[in-house]
Point group: C2
Chain length 264, copies 2
């Protein structure tokens, strides 16, 4: 099937339900993962255009803002029980003035088939609320939406060009991540069930952007009493094998409720 026809079909079906959605409000998700000692964010590449965007969506008239975010997350990753949190609302009156917003639509050959009503709706001013999610990359299978051809993880150190203010949204999400570090379930959300102490340390180093002293890190975390030690993991490397650990969930969540008082 011609992907352009397919896209047009999707737009038309959304257009038919336009009355079910709030005009002028949207949500965008900064879905963060951790892989190869790097923080990564899940992005979509639009059809017919090639610019990248954050996964986002519109809000149904009967739907809570938080539920809209959960819905988008579920649609893109297949996950329903992950950590999601609202972090900021972007309310500039000129967010939509960037011409890139409508580019993919103008590339459609059959654009004239779309109603002026819909074009007005979609190019209107939008106030968007940012949500961020922390997920274990290995557990999810990214799926592009109707408007996109690719949905994949991008390293935060090498972001592609993004539409509108999506770069700013990511920056703000990272600020939030850093200042709220002690109250967020970083380790338990971003790492696989079992991990080594080095994995955990490298994760914190990636977030904080600075090296942490190995031996002190180990002692400090063990003393928190949230780690369960498992069997050693033979890595094949020419050195002592590290233990594997997992988190004691109840203790973990109890701890971050009052702030893990970790690194400041």
């Amino acid at each position: 099937m011609d992907p352009e026809i397919d896209l047009l079909h999707h737009i038309k079906s959304f257009e038919a339900q336009l009355e079910d959605y709030l005009p002028g409000n949207s949500i965008d998700c900064v879905i963060l993962g951790y892989e190869s000692q790097q923080l990564k964010v899940l992005l979509l590449k639009w059809k017919n255009d090639g610019v990248w965007t954050l996964p986002g969506g519109f809000i149904k008239k009967t739907e809570h803002l938080d539920d809209a975010a959960q819905r988008v997350l579920q649609e893109r990753t297949g996950l329903s029980s992950v950590f999601v949190k609202q972090f900021y609302t972007f309310g500039s009156s000129v967010r939509n003035k960037n011409p890139q917003i409508s580019k993919p639509l103008y590339h459609l050959k059959k654009m004239e088939e779309l109603s002026p009503n819909f074009l007005k709706w979609i190019t209107n001013r939008f106030i968007t609320t940012g949500y961020f999610a922390l997920v274990d990359i290995k557990r999810i299978h990214p799926r592009p939406d109707a408007f996109s051809e690719v949905c994949e993880w991008k390293s935060l150190n090498a972001l592609p060009p993004l539409i509108l203010d999506h770069k700013e949204i990511i920056t703000k999400a990272l600020d939030h991540l850093k200042t709220q570090l002690n109250y967020l379930p970083i380790g338990i959300s971003l790492l696989p069930k079992k991990f080594t102490m080095q994995d955990l340390r490298k994760l914190y180093e990636a977030i904080l952007g600075k090296p942490l002293e190995r031996s002190n890190f180990q002692r400090k975390l063990l003393k928190l009493g949230i780690l369960i030690r498992h069997e050693k993991q033979m890595t094949g490397a020419a050195n002592k094998a590290p233990y594997l650990y997992s988190f004691s969930e109840e203790k973990y969540y109890e701890l971050i409720k009052n702030g893990i008082g970790f690194y400041s």
Copy 2:
């Protein structure tokens, strides 16, 4: 002039400009002050009804969300250069289902003069973004808006009944205040220019909800290097007169940028 006629006049003039405002979005301000060793919030009491609300407003189509908050703050307090910060967006789909929202309108004898268009607009679902401000109570002169008869400070320990989810909005603002304590200009915003060490300590005690050791507090704050010591203040009490202090503004703002690393 009959206050009810006056109110109706205001509503009609707003109704005439309805097209200039975003439908479905609003801002609410949690304006915090400190007086008599208590944190206080600025509230409005509606005409014809008597329930209390947070000062809030609507957003012009060409206006940044932040600017709408600044505008409301300016209108209620007369202040333009105060600390304001967005803290959360409330997106429940049933926020407006509380009957209190329209009560004051229904109390109007001449309500039938209002257009159905306006009534639909105002009773629609609204997504509201909360801003909080920190101000020196002594510097401001609260002014009620067209819909209100009273605008005054209320102690956080004894809040009157509030419309809709405004209680929840205040609670969330206080959460934000506590978790962001180290990054907010608490002292410099809430206290008068000159203050005693006891004033500053009592302020922190009010926010943290627990007593702080007098002598250690003093040493800790002096060591931060953000305080300027002035002449002693003869209080008339039968004890040693305390020094007055003021903040070194540049040093203060430099410090909170990285977090004052204060009490956790």
